[in-house]
């Protein structure tokens, strides 16, 4: 045990001897310089928590990986279904030592602490990009970056399209767990719906985990039985929910990636990640040897998220309304969360006159469902 805990073990020493003095010196220097020596070539490792083609979370990441693959000099190695355990560290080490990867995309939330942080400390000349983690200056290593998007902007647009298409004005939201990211999406969906119809309500079902297909199907069916006629969700793979909505003849809004192919009739629009923006900027910085930007955030304006193309069921009027709000968002003039806003237990969530712009860290700690959402945290 003591051997592996030493900061400089025998394997490291042998590797340095074999690589020769010059390369060894390059390894000792801060990150960036080693990449310049590699003459415009970069190997990127990408780790996914599930299958790459899940119509959801992992597919959105894989689409960005496919785009950076096209960049000249970039080689991509990928591994699917890496559980959020010590397996993450093993996969990362294999990518670095066997494939020569010097930029790692760790795409699942649970990879960050401790796995990515440990690997970043062990390999200071490798860059690590993690999706969703809260990177903190001074606390976390400088070769780690966190990227994430303000997808609640798209959820707001989804809510507008949903309320316009709905006849019963009852909307359904199938969510995995009541964590701030999810609550923020549900609330933005409701606020968008209320902007179109002040009487619209959103019923929430929490399934308890990110991938429970039978429970998601059951939730979808029981919401439809209660008169809900538009469904959306925040689970890892929206495939099941969108398929059931289509089979039962109601509308759906997608999430993570486009599920339009699964529901040609009822798919209204969806909230999609556009990870190619942070991916390409991180890859470019690594190839040019520029210092790493440690905290990347963005919404529609920065190209981190995008709405799915409108489906045939969205009326011209609804399209115009939604596009007008989207244009404001792109200009940075639209604030989703502003007072006065009550939560659904009657307490004041945001006081009158207070408005939280997209970057406001208060929003990353949301713990309430707003008035009009039927459900409990």
């Amino acid at each position: 045990m003591s051997q592996s805990n030493r900061p400089f073990n025998r394997r490291d020493a042998l590797r340095m001897l074999g690589a020769g003095g010059a390369a060894a010196a390059a390894q000792m220097l801060p990150f960036g310089i080693g990449n310049v020596l590699a003459a415009g070539k970069l190997t990127v490792g990408v780790l996914y928590v599930g299958p790459r083609d899940d119509f959801g979370y992992n597919q959105a990441q894989a689409q960005a990986a496919a785009i950076i693959k096209q960049m000249p000099g970039v080689k991509v190695v990928e591994e699917e279904k890496v559980p959020e355990t010590v397996a993450v560290q093993k996969s990362i080490e294999a990518m670095i030592n066997q494939d020569g990867a010097s930029l790692i995309f760790a795409t699942s939330f649970g990879y960050f602490d401790p796995h990515v942080l440990k690997m970043a400390a062990k390999y200071p000349n490798v860059r690590f990009a993690h999706c969703g983690g809260l990177w903190t200056q001074g606390k976390h290593p400088a070769n780690v970056a966190s990227y994430f998007g303000y997808i609640d902007e798209c959820e707001y647009l989804d809510g507008m399209a949903a309320a316009a298409a709905s006849k019963t004005k009852k909307l359904g939201f199938i969510a995995a767990k009541p964590i701030p990211q999810v609550l923020r999406n549900i609330n933005a969906f409701l606020l968008g719906a209320r902007a179109v119809d002040p009487k619209a309500t959103v019923r929430v079902i929490f399934t308890g985990d990110w991938a429970l297909p039978v429970k998601e199907a059951e939730a979808a069916n029981s919401l439809i039985d209660q008169g809900v006629d538009v469904l959306t969700c925040h689970v890892d793979s929206p495939k099941v929910v969108v398929q059931i909505a289509e089979r039962r003849g109601i509308y759906s809004c997608g999430y993570h990636a486009s599920q339009a192919a699964l529901a040609p009739k009822g798919y209204l629009t969806g909230a999609e990640w556009d990870w190619q923006t942070p991916y390409t900027s991180l890859v470019k910085a690594a190839m040019e040897g520029k210092p790493m930007v440690n905290f990347l955030r963005g919404g529609l304006k920065e190209g981190f998220v995008k709405p799915s193309a409108f489906g045939p069921a969205v009326s011209a009027e609804a399209r115009a309304k939604s596009t007008a709000v989207k244009d404001k968002m792109v200009k940075g003039e639209f604030v989703i969360f502003k007072g006065p806003l009550n939560d659904n237990t009657g307490k004041v969530a945001i006081a009158s006159g207070v408005s939280h712009a997209q970057q406001d860290p208060v929003l990353e700690d949301m713990k309430y469902l707003v008035d009009g959402v039927i459900g409990q945290v």
């Binding site: 299958p51 929490f206 429970k215 919401l223 039985d225 209660q226 398929q243």
Partner: protein, 311 residues
């Protein structure tokens, strides 16, 4: 309870539970009937979870490639039979423990299904058509609760046929004899090992069909989280159904209804304590196990050759 609104909600909740029982119970039903046959012959096959997942994958794949969901069901059943045969043959070797082989088979079946199923996550295979038994009603909720799959009535009929066959036919008697006392069966000249292998293979067939239901009807797509332990729960279900096929069917329906409780309550706005309601099937398993385990007759009705008790 007196005002009409809450009465309506109760009626609608019961309907939701009925609908859930109709939709969710089929895999439980098929896997537990299969395990019932296997255990009656004196073997435990814990690998049914793996067979269920492999059946889901192979059924989806064949349905996608041939365009016929019925061929998919058949293929899933045949794959299940092969896995059952494997378990049966391995357990017939000397000094092999059937529980250990079952666990190995479970890991093998799921792993192989994940490996071969990689290209099947994205495409959409043709689904089994539903039977609309609720056409007489105007209430959309009644109609959706009674939109069932043809496999459910087949499974229910199968439960009664099995019950009758086990009790009243010569074949059933032989099966029970092999499971209860191998020495007596041998003395009467029945081939114990081949009968057990055949019973395990039949169990595998039914579990494979149950898996195909998951991917070809409800929820109706192939992905790696599809089963989430349903095969294992079905094995537990056989034990508290006391190796009785009709009781297996009742228990499967009860499990389906319990699984629907959490989402049904939340969709009606009863949202406090949803973690508790989502745990309902597991709580029910524990409660039924505790209630049926009266001291002294813990495994009453268990086939004598099962490696459960120490008789």
């Amino acid at each position: 309870m007196s005002d009409p609104a809450s009465d309506f909600a109760l009626g609608s909740l019961l309907l939701a539970l009925l609908g859930g029982a109709m939709r969710v119970s089929t895999p439980f039903l098929f896997v537990s009937l299969g395990e019932c046959i296997t255990e009656t012959a004196g073997r435990i096959n814990l690998g049914l979870e793996g067979i269920l997942v492999f059946g889901a994958m192979s059924g989806y794949g064949v349905s996608y490639l041939t365009g016929s969901p019925w061929l998919g069901i058949l293929a899933a059943g045949c794959c299940g039979t092969l896995f059952g045969l494997l378990h049966g043959v391995l357990c017939s070797l000397p000094k092999v423990n059937d529980i250990a082989v079952g666990i190995a088979l479970m890991l093998f079946g799921t792993g192989l299904a994940f490996f071969l199923g990689k290209p099947l996550i994205q495409p959409q295979a043709p689904m089994l058509p539903p039977l609309n038994l609720g056409g007489w009603s105007d209430d959309p909720q009644v109609r959706s609760a009674l939109r069932i799959n043809v496999l459910l009535p087949i499974g229910l009929v199968l439960a009664f046929v099995l019950q009758w066959a086990l009790v009243s036919t010569r074949a059933g008697l032989v099966l029970r004899l092999v499971g209860d006392n191998a020495a007596a069966a041998r003395a009467l000249g029945y081939p114990v090992v081949p009968i057990r292998i055949a019973a395990t293979a039949a169990g595998g067939f039914l579990a494979g069909v149950g898996g195909a239901f998951l991917s070809l009807y409800y929820p109706g797509s192939w992905n790696e989280g599809l089963s989430s332990g349903q095969g294992l729960m079905a094995v537990a279900l056989v034990i508290f159904a006391r190796w009785n096929p009709v009781r297996c069917a009742l228990a499967a329906l009860l499990f389906g209804a319990a699984g629907a409780l959490g989402p049904a309550l939340q969709s009606q706005g009863i949202t406090s304590g949803y973690y508790l309601f989502n745990a309902a099937p597991y709580v029910l398993t524990l409660a039924l196990m505790a209630a049926s385990c009266t001291p002294g007759r813990i495994l009453a009705g268990a086939p004598g050759e099962l490696s459960l008790g120490n008789r």
